[in-house]
Symmetry: C2
Subunit: 549 residues, 2 copies
């Protein structure tokens, strides 16, 4: 992972093969994509504080690692200092590194994790577990004024699928496994976890559990909480191990306390999860709806019906326009097809091309099952004025779905800020929630006097509601004050969530970025319960302090 | 509710209309059903201690109730003293009442609940919430040596369905609503909660949530935890109110901490729950499998397939025999049909009538959906040698499903003890778990030198496993020592659960009956987390102390 941005060196987002993008960004956020105005400070110019690590603790950590290294390498410390929130990226690019971890350790098994935790507690050090480092909620950074030694515990060596119980459709998997590696190991035996968050390429199982992640196919596979049947966690009072039973009545769920715990209760080392056979057939179809209201209503009715698609997603008109603007240069055939479709839509359905909304609906299973589901869903779509536009948009979406995070770096290079905020709410609340959040975001843009852009999609449908996922972008009016201006927009959106009865985050966790809305979301006694739990388990506040509450 | 047993006066179980039952019980547990040997002591002979209630607390409670009564009525106190575990029934029948609550209050709304809690805390009294009083895990009894005043808070006046959000398919329901009342209110608007535990007739929504209940149709509707989207709970630090969002990432789930909390965190006053339209078609079909192993394998394969039935249940050979023994006197036509079926089964499928296992599978939805599901399930059943025996056994099961608890009183009158123990485990573990538990139970019978009976069914199928529900009965060798002998059998079964990697209970909660297996189930750090939570929220241990941990 790059220390200053997303992903691998050599991979980046470009406008050059997307002819409609430059005019789109010019028009929407007043951005000239040809001008790179801001680049990350060079690594060798970073001002990296000396690590605060006593020889005794260093020796204890190396003993815990069976003689392995306790790394104080500068790049290691910088990479492990933060996640990839917009605030993290902006500050890292500027060379404002904050409180770096003093040492990075990479235990090789659960016993070594336990020994590292013991050594850290004995020395009254702070321990911060690190998976893929993709948090966008500030879950990984040490408090600025932390004076104790900070140990970053990197789980990447715990990366194996340990066992698959085929009759029970359960897999035991180590917490440090990255998405692609984990799927490769499962696929080789004919299985899949089916968990594909946007961060998939660079995030780990342990990170998903610690933040309550949700994947693109959650409609079928469930959120990570639904997938996770049992956990193993190294805690200050020993190894917490729950049983992989399908349902249980053992008081308040300890498994659910680990989900979303962001390292505050200990270090997740392993989990037992639902797996499914790689489906015989898998298809994501594109649909167009005349309006956002039609798209929302269709998704709600699909959730209430007897079909069970694997993906339900609909973009608002802005996001639809953005999707079309990021298409690569079309072939002549593509252009003809596209023009024919547009003509057809205008004539046949009285579609307003400016208002239309792009939707993806996925199906999985046996050919017979897929066919039956498509038919059922197709009827509901049709009732709301939608039309199917075939499988090619879905294939494109499926291919590029993990590339989105690179766009933020592309925009930062050009002086623009972009970020996401997502929430969930009951079906009945979604239309007004959308309007309120859009108004709040644009109100903040107006206050700043900038031309800002906001777009949204609905994804992750449930019985009683769905997730609304907002993306916003703007060019700050004063470059050096970008984060203050970002705060204003982000806060306006988050405040609109909780004011509308929605939640502060559907699947991006609390960390430090969302902590100030927690009490409004789960009420003061709810926060008190979290305090009671964290303080009771970790009275010295050694485990990732300052996160969530 | 009867003070000494299950249900309403005037309703009871009888063998008289079931010609095969007397010989069955004679053969299996050496019981003569014609001899009633043990009756509950008369209420007027009970030795009821004076309530310990200061005039100040009484006044404070009555003020909290807006002038309503704080009842010290003897029958009230006896009914609210315990649930309906076998241990509860035996002791109540003998007149061994234990530590009765000193006062019973029935607040009329959430504000009154909060005022009662405040009054109890101010006086350092103990508060025990009471729903329907059907707990069979000892969740309701005060500790024997408790010296503080004990307030039983009966929620039965909070019984309303407050609102239905039709678009979101969510209902706000008060916690004191009993099953039938709640369904009546929902059905009147075309909706159903779909939660039907065995205790349905006499249990409440708040009790279901406080104990992690599961209903007979959980395959389709989910357990109470899946159904419950938001809770309102009066806690020592104020009103805990979570939001009815479909999924959220706000740290460890506070909603999940309330589920199964058995009154230790406060008083549940209201919840927002999934509801569904009353299905257009609903059918429960009977099937017969040649053996228990065939039945288990079929249920596993159905869970792994593309059908989604509402009920999956298969009885072992013993429970199948018991079901046939409790049939009412058949008509000549019934007998002819039954004889024809037996002949058919023997010829066509080489069925061993002693080994065959009765199964119920339920379907709900549109006629087309029901037909498609039946067909899919039918194929899986057939692959495992099962045959469909039509809808009449299912209709019978559906009608008498809530009557089972009356049988315990019938047996107690005749000197026999019967109880249940249920668990859940992954599919791969179920066959051996069954054998181990059966061996443990019969080992205990042998040790006692009694002829004991055990039977079992699988119900509540999930992705990765299912619930096994055991029923056992025997006539103690020494009547006065019945509870000691019962303990031996019950403990052997429970120990076999946790020794086999299964859970101490799938849906009957921990209470005091199962608390000794909690550490083996969720591990010592798990118990420490529950301690941290309970102690932090309720430092004075005023809320239903002694339960769970």
């Amino acid at each position: 992972m790059r220390w200053w941005g997303w992903g691998h060196d050599g991979v980046s987002f470009t406008h050059e093969d997307k002819p409609a993008l430059a005019p789109f960004l010019r028009q929407r956020i007043d951005l000239d994509v040809t001008r790179v105005t801001s680049v990350p400070v060079a690594f060798e110019h970073l001002d990296i504080a000396e690590p605060s690590l006593s020889p005794a603790l260093q020796a204890a950590l190396e003993q815990a690692l069976g003689g392995g290294p306790a790394s104080t390498d500068a790049l290691d410390r910088v990479v492990h200092a933060r996640g990839k929130s917009l605030r993290d990226l902006v500050r890292h690019r500027r060379g404002e590194l904050g409180r770096l971890p003093d040492v990075v350790v990479r235990p090789g098994d659960e016993d070594e994790v336990a020994a590292v935790l013991r050594a850290a507690l004995d020395a009254d050090a702070v321990l911060i577990p690190f998976g893929g480092g993709t948090s966008i909620s500030g879950s990984l950074e040490a408090p600025a004024r932390e004076r104790r030694t900070i140990v970053s515990l990197d789980l990447s060596r715990l990366s194996r699928v340990l066992a698959v119980d085929e009759a029970s459709r359960l897999a035991r998997i180590q917490a440090g496994a990255f998405g692609p590696d984990l799927e490769r190991q499962l696929n080789a035996r004919g299985w899949t976890l089916g968990h594909f968050p946007d961060s998939f390429t660079h995030s780990t199982l342990g990170g998903w559990i610690a933040t309550r992640s949700s994947g693109m196919q959650s409609d079928r596979y469930g959120d990570i909480g639904d997938l996770t049947r049992a956990v193993r966690v190294v805690t200050p009072s020993g190894l917490l191990a729950t049983r992989p039973v399908p349902s249980t009545s053992t008081g308040p769920s300890v498994r659910e306390m680990v989900l979303g715990s962001e390292g505050r209760l200990g270090v997740i080392t392993e989990a037992t999860l639902h797996v499914r056979r790689v489906p015989e057939r898998r298809i994501i179809l594109g649909y167009l709806f005349p309006t956002w209201a039609d798209g929302l209503a269709a998704m709600r009715d699909i959730a209430a019906g007897e079909a069970a698609p694997s993906v339900t997603r609909v973009s608002d008109a802005n996001e639809t326009a953005f999707s079309f603007a990021t298409r690569k240069k079309p072939s002549i055939l593509d252009r003809l097809k596209s023009r024919a479709l547009t003509t057809y839509l205008r004539r046949r359905h009285d579609f307003d091309v400016e208002a239309m909304c792009l939707s993806f609906i996925g199906y999985e299973g046996s050919p017979r099952h897929v066919a039956a589901q498509r038919k059922l869903v197709g009827r509901t779509v049709g009732r709301h004025g939608g039309v199917c536009i075939g499988s090619s948009p879905g294939e494109l979406y499926d291919q590029k779905k993990f590339d989105t995070p690179y766009i933020r770096d592309f925009l930062l290079d050009r002086g623009a800020l972009a970020d996401v905020s997502e929430t969930s709410a009951p079906w009945s609340a979604l239309p007004e929630l959308y309007d309120t959040v859009m108004a709040a975001g644009h109100g903040a843009f107006d206050e700043l006097g900038v031309r800002g852009f906001m777009m949204c999609h609905l994804s992750h449908s449930y019985h009683a509601g769905a997730c609304l996922y907002f993306t916003f972008a703007f060019k700050p009016s004063a470059q050096e004050d970008g984060l203050r201006e970002y705060d204003l927009v982000k806060s306006a959106i988050q405040q609109a969530f909780v004011d509308s009865g929605a939640t502060l985050s559907h699947h991006h966790a609390v960390g430090t970025e969302h902590a100030r809305w927690l009490e409004e979301d789960i009420s003061a006694p709810g926060v008190a319960m979290l305090h009671a739990l964290f303080t009771g388990v970790d009275p010295g506040a050694n485990l990732n302090p300052g996160k969530i509450v």
